[in-house]
C-alpha cells in the first residue's frame, strides 16, 4: 500500500528541491516562511502562557506548521474551514486573530467566533465530528451553484471513528467539493499509529470510497500547498472530494496536561527536529538559493513577537466574561425554563431574595 501512495515531496529535509516542476517564486517562499514562523511563535508563547497559569490546558502543534500553513494557504476567501483543537496555524493563516485563539484557551467562548466573512467553524473537540459537517457545508455550496469548497482537518486517530467514514462516504456519494486533510502526526494521545490501525497508510482509506487520495510530506510546505491546491481546484470544477494524508510529526505533548515521555520517544523527536523540521528545511533551502538574509529574518521574528505580545495584552485585558452569555445564546427566542432559571440565579446573585 505504501507503494500505491508514494509520499509526494517538493523539497527534502536538507532543503534540496526533489521536484522542480513547480514554480516557486521568492514571494511565495517568503510568504510561507513568515506564516510558519508566526504560527510557531504563537505556539511557543501559548505553551509558556499555560505554564505560567495564564491560559488553561493547551494543545501544541509544533512540528505541524507546514501541514497547516501550506494547506490553509491554498484556500480562497469564501471557502469553509473545519479545524480541530490543534489547528491554530491553519485558522491563523485563514483569518483568525491571535487573540481569538488565545481567548479559546482562556476558557472563553469568544474564542470560537470568527471574524465577519470568514467561514471558520469552532474547533471540533469530539473527534471526527467535523468531517460530515464539512461534507454538508460543501454540498450546500454546490447546491447554491458557487465554486466554494470546504476543508476539514483531523488526526490519524480520527480515522478510527465512524464519523470519519460517514463523512467520506457521503462526500463520495454526493460528489461534495470537500478536501479531507489528515495530519498523520504518528500518535493519538499515547496510541501510536501501528496500534490505531492495521492499514499502512491513511490515504488508502479513500479507496473504499473510490475517492482520490494522496500522501504528502507534511513537513514540506510547498508539497502540501500544491497538493491541496490541486485538490481544491478539482473540487471547484465539480469533480468531488479528495483525501490528503500529510505525514508529519509533533514534537511535544498531546496537550500541556500530559507527559509525552511516557509513550513517545523523545530522542526520536529531537532527531526529527534536526532532520525534517518544516521551518529549518525552508531556511536551508533559502540559504542554498542565496535568499537567506539574517536581517530580514530578524525583522520577521520581531513582527511576530510584537503581534503576539499585543494579542496577549488584548486577551488579558478583555472584558470580564458575562454570566448572561450562559443563557442568552441557547435559543434565538428565549424559552421559559431557561428564563426562569436565569432570573432566579441573577436575583440570588444580587442578594435580592432570602
Amino acid at each position: 500500500m505504501e507503494n500505491k501512495f508514494p509520499i509526494r515531496q517538493v523539497m527534502d529535509g536538507e532543503g534540496n528541491l526533489t521536484d522542480s516542476s513547480y514554480h516557486l517564486t521568492e514571494e511565495l517562499i517568503k510568504e510561507m516562511y513568515k506564516k510558519m514562523l508566526r504560527a510557531r511563535t504563537l505556539d511557543k508563547k501559548s505553551v509558556n502562557l499555560q505554564r505560567q497559569g495564564r491560559i488553561g490546558t493547551y494543545a501544541p502543534f509544533e512540528g505541524q506548521e507546514a501541514a497547516q500553513v501550506g494547506s490553509a494557504s491554498a484556500l480562497g476567501e469564501g471557502d469553509w474551514m473545519f479545524p480541530t483543537y490543534r489547528d491554530h496555524a491553519a485558522t491563523l493563516t485563514f483569518g483568525h486573530s491571535v487573540s481569538t485563539i488565545m481567548l479559546y484557551w482562556k476558557g472563553r467562548v469568544e474564542g470560537c467566533v470568527p471574524p465577519d466573512g470568514k467561514n471558520i467553524f469552532p474547533p471540533a473537540v469530539p473527534i471526527a465530528t467535523q468531517l460530515p459537517h464539512a461534507t454538508g457545508a460543501a454540498l450546500a455550496e454546490k447546491r447554491k451553484g458557487t465554486d466554494r469548497v470546504a476543508i476539514a482537518y483531523f488526526g490519524d486517530g480520527a480515522t478510527s471513528e465512524g464519523d470519519f467514514h460517514e463523512g467520506l462516504n457521503f462526500a463520495s456519494v454526493f460528489k461534495a467539493p470537500v478536501v479531507f486533510f489528515n495530519q498523520n502526526n504518528g500518535y493519538a494521545i499515547s496510541v501510536p499509529i501501528e496500534k490505531q490501525m492495521n492499514s499502512k497508510t491513511i490515504a488508502q482509506k479513500g479507496l473504499a470510497y473510490d475517492m482520490d487520495s494522496v500522501r504528502v510530506d507534511g513537513n514540506d510546505v510547498f508539497a502540501v500547498y500544491f497538493e491541496t491546491q490541486k485538490a481544491i481546484e478539482k473540487a471547484r470544477r465539480g469533480e468531488g472530494p479528495t483525501l490528503i494524508e500529510a505525514v508529519t510529526w509533533r514534537y511535544g505533548a498531546h496537550t500541556t496536561a500530559d507527559d509525552p515521555t511516557k509513550y513517545r520517544d523523545q530522542e526520536l523527536s529531537l532527531e526529527k527536529r534536526n532532520q525534517i523540521d518544516p521551518l529549518l528545511r525552508l531556511e536551508r533551502y533559502m540559504e542554498k538559493q542565496g535568499m537567506w538574509d539574517a536581517a530580514w529574518m530578524e525583522q520577521v521574528l520581531k513582527q511576530c513577537d510584537e503581534e503576539i505580545e499585543k494579542a496577549v495584552w488584548e486577551m488579558e485585558n478583555y472584558p470580564e466574561p458575562d454570566v448572561n452569555d450562559i443563557f442568552d445564546h441557547v435559543f434565538k427566542e428565549p424559552v421559559w425554563p431557561l428564563e426562569r432559571q436565569k432570573e432566579a440565579y441573577l436575583s440570588q446573585k444580587r442578594g435580592e431574595t432570602v
Binding site: G56, S160, G162, D163, I189, S190, A257, P337, Y345, V354
Partner: protein
C-alpha cells in the same frame, strides 16, 4: 466519609482515582475473564491515570489500548461480554460517550430482555464526568439522566474513595451492564482509608452522611462535597440537615429516601446536570408517590441550567455552590 468503620482491616490512604485503580486491580487478580479496554488505558495509564500500572501487571492482552472509537469500544465489549468475558470499558470523558450511545441504548441495555436472559452483558462502562476542573468544552458534561432513562442499565456514582472501590467491585460482579460515573473534581480532592482486600458497597443503597431533623438534602458525585459544606454551615445557623449521598441513580434507594423525608418533611436535591429532565426529577416523583402526605414544603432542586455546560471562564457560575444550596435550604425551612 463513610459511616462504616472497619476494624482489623488493612487499609491504605487512597484518593478516589486510586481507589478505582485498586478496585480493578483487586478484581483482575482474582478473575482472568476481566478485561480493561479503552483509549490510552495501557502505556499511558488512562488520561487520569485510573488504569496506571495495570498493563504492566496484567499485560496487553488484558489491558487493551483500543483505536479511537467509542462505538467500537462498547460494541466490542458487548461481544466479549456475551461470550464469557467481563469487560471494563473506559470512556475518556462522559462527554465523549455519545458515539457509543447507540451501542449502549440499543444493545448493552436490552440484550437480556431481547433474549429472555439467554444472553447477558456483564460489563462496566467507566466514565469521568462533571465540571470544575477547567477542562475544555464538552469534557464537563454530566448526562446521567440519559442513562437513568434507559431501561436495562444501572447507574452508579461514588463520591469518595471507600465507595469508589466497593461500588466498582459490585459493578464488576453485577450480571448486568453498569455505567460507573467518576466525578473528576473529586478524583484527587482528598484521601481516605480504603481496605486493601476485596469488599463491596451494595448497588442501590444510598448513604446517610449526616443525620438531621429539618430537611433532607440529596446529592451524588462531586455535589456531595458542595452539599456537605452547605449542611455544615446551616447547622451553625441552627438548621439540622440530613444529607443523603445517593451513590446509585438507578435503581434509587427507595427506603432510605422515603424514610428520611418522612422524618424531615422537606427536600432539597442537588445536581450539576441541567435541571430539565435531570435525575432529580425521579427522586421527586418517588417522594411524591411514597411520602406526599409527609411534605411540609415544596421539594426544590439546585441544578445546572438548561444550557450547554459553559466554557471554563464561566463554569463556576454554572455549577451549584454551597451558597446556592444554603439558599434553597433556607427557602425550604421558612416556607
Amino acid at each position: 466519609m463513610t459511616t462504616k468503620t472497619m476494624t482489623e482491616v488493612k487499609t491504605n490512604k487512597l484518593t478516589l482515582v486510586q481507589a478505582v485503580t485498586d478496585g480493578m486491580r483487586t478484581m483482575m487478580k482474582e478473575h482472568d475473564d476481566i478485561l480493561v479496554l479503552g483509549e490510552d488505558v495501557g502505556q499511558n495509564g488512562g488520561v487520569f491515570r485510573a488504569t496506571e500500572g495495570l498493563v504492566h501487571e496484567f499485560g496487553e492482552d488484558r489491558v487493551i489500548d483500543t483505536p479511537l472509537a467509542e462505538a467500537g469500544i462498547v460494541g466490542t465489549s458487548i461481544g466479549l461480554a456475551i461470550n464469557g468475558f467481563r469487560p471494563i470499558a473506559e470512556m475518556q470523558f462522559l462527554g465523549f460517550v455519545y458515539p457509543a450511545y447507540e451501542q449502549i441504548m440499543t444493545h448493552a441495555s436490552r440484550i437480556r430482555s431481547r433474549t429472555m436472559s439467554k444472553f447477558s452483558v456483564p460489563m462496566v462502562i467507566r466514565a469521568p464526568y462533571g465540571g470544575g476542573i477547567r477542562a475544555p468544552e464538552i469534557h464537563s458534561d454530566s448526562v446521567e439522566a440519559l442513562f437513568t432513562h434507559m431501561p436495562g442499565i444501572k447507574v452508579v456514582v461514588p463520591s469518595n474513595p471507600y465507595d469508589a472501590k466497593g461500588l466498582l467491585i459490585a459493578a464488576i460482579e453485577d450480571p448486568d451492564p453498569v455505567l460507573f460515573m467518576e466525578p473528576m473534581r473529586s478524583y484527587r480532592a482528598f484521601k481516605a482509608d480504603v481496605p486493601e482486600s476485596k469488599y463491596t458497597v451494595e448497588i442501590g443503597k444510598a448513604a446517610t452522611l449526616t443525620e438531621g431533623e429539618d430537611v433532607t438534602v440529596i446529592a451524588w458525585g462531586n455535589m456531595v462535597s458542595v452539599a456537605q459544606k452547605a449542611v455544615e454551615q446551616m447547622s451553625g445557623d441552627g438548621v439540622s440537615c440530613e444529607l443523603l449521598d445517593l451513590r446509585t441513580l438507578y435503581p434509587l434507594d427507595r427506603e432510605t429516601i422515603v424514610e428520611s423525608v418522612k422524618k424531615t418533611g422537606r427536600v432539597v436535591i442537588i445536581h450539576e446536570a441541567p435541571e430539565t429532565g435531570g435525575a432529580g426529577n425521579d427522586v421527586m416523583a418517588l417522594i411524591n408517590d411514597e411520602a406526599f402526605l409527609y411534605l411540609r414544603a415544596p421539594m426544590t432542586k439546585v441544578a445546572g441550567f438548561d444550557a450547554p455546560f459553559p466554557f471554563f471562564a464561566l463554569e463556576e457560575e454554572y455549577l451549584p455552590t454551597p451558597a446556592r444550596v444554603k439558599h434553597a435550604i433556607k427557602e425550604a425551612v421558612t416556607f
